[in-house]
């Protein structure tokens, strides 16, 4: 049971309810977290707008963004986000269950390219302690073929995961063992 529960659904106004349902249909996850954020409707709206832009738009593919999200959440131990994004990867993302399990365990998926492995590695480092990033990390990414827009995009996925991990963990959301076992 979370430390803070969702607002009573009967108290939601129509705009909030519509926003909640729209995201639910589009992304099919984070229902519990977003139901708690209904307590702060502007925060919910900001979260949805930010999420849509960072996860859907730009140069990196959606599957890679989702992989970065799971990898960063794994570093922070946020089972709730690992379960939600892992389920997306195994469903719409069409990633093997074994690859999802590897990401959740802090490892690279077997299907990842060398460039993707480098990107995931640096993203894990940033998620663990962003201040430890050094020029050599950026050099590694560029040598692997990533341009500056892609690097910045990847870092914003790590940043977004930090935002969502922070809220999910602070309000006491967790994924059950069953959710973690099923990709």
């Amino acid at each position: 049971m979370p430390h803070i529960t969702a607002a009573d659904i009967g108290s939601w106004d129509d705009d909030v309810r519509a926003r909640y349902e729209r995201f639910r249909v589009e992304h099919a996850h984070f229902d519990e977290l977003r139901a708690i954020l209904v307590r702060f409707p502007s925060g919910l709206g900001a979260a949805d707008d930010m999420y849509h832009r960072i996860m859907n738009e730009g140069h990196l593919g959606r599957v890679l963004r989702e992989q970065i999200f799971v990898a960063a959440s794994s570093v922070r131990g946020c089972r709730y986000a690992m379960a939600a994004h892992g389920a997306w990867l195994a469903g719409p993302g069409e990633i093997d269950d074994a690859d999802v399990a590897a990401l959740r365990a802090g490892e690279d998926p077997a299907s990842a390219s060398a460039a993707e492995r480098t990107l995931l590695d640096v993203c894990r480092k940033v998620a663990a302690a962003a201040y430890r990033t050094v020029t050599a990390d950026i050099d590694r990414l560029e040598e692997a073929g990533w341009g500056k827009p892609e690097i910045v995009e990847a870092l914003t996925v790590v940043a977004l995961s930090g935002w969502m991990n922070g809220i999910a963990s602070a309000v006491g959301l967790d994924a059950g063992d069953a959710a973690m076992a099923v990709a």
């Binding site: 803070i4 702060f40 990033t133 602070a170």
Partner: protein, 187 residues
């Protein structure tokens, strides 16, 4: 020096460049975070979409949310975010530098009542290790008179630091203080 060079202003899409220039006019300093994020216009739009709704609306005063963000950024050791928003607390909300330096640690301080201090301490726990937040921490905030709506807002303001600190720290964004605005550096 930042680990990635800032994009040339003339290469930035007009709408994004106007956001950067608008911020510089309003705040008397460039926004190196937004300038760096201009490498990715969706990311730039995302941070704009995030900041104002979280900080300027809701039940908690903006002054308190800015303080929570500063306290969280201090906990994470992000001088860029802590410095910029500490200066905002002085310039916009009338605190002096000593007050801000004390309040953001969670210590008792003039200008910070016990209920607000409880939220500062909660924000610092969220920023330090959100997995460590317990039901007792939430109960302490409630005991100080905060409702769950306000507590969620406070947690969201602290989580905001996890967004901006990640970008600022990972890319080593520099001090964007300018001498003209009366500060000789971050504090």
């Amino acid at each position: 020096m930042a680990l990635i060079p800032y994009p040339e202003l003339e290469t930035i899409p007009t709408e994004v460049r106007e956001h950067i220039e608008h911020f510089a006019r309003d705040h008397g300093r460039p926004t190196l975070l937004r300038w760096m994020l201009a490498w990715s216009p969706p990311a730039s739009a995302a941070v704009d979409a995030l900041y104002h709704p979280v900080f300027t609306t809701g039940k908690l005063e903006r002054r308190l949310k800015e303080l929570l963000f500063v306290a969280a950024s201090e906990q994470r050791g992000c001088f860029y975010c802590m410095g910029g928003h500490s200066r905002l607390l002085v310039q916009t909300f009338g605190y002096d530098q000593d007050q801000v330096e004390r309040m953001r640690t969670g210590a008792e301080a003039e200008g910070l009542d016990e209920a607000e201090r409880a939220l500062v301490l909660l924000a610092k726990t969220v920023a330090d290790d959100s997995q460590a937040v317990t039901v007792e921490d939430i109960a302490t905030a409630r005991d100080h008179g905060w409702g769950d709506d306000e507590i969620v807002e406070a947690i969201t303001a602290a989580a905001q630091s996890m967004w901006t600190n990640t970008v600022a720290q990972s890319l080593h964004l520099e001090d964007d203080v300018t001498p003209e605005n009366g500060f000789d550096g971050y504090f």
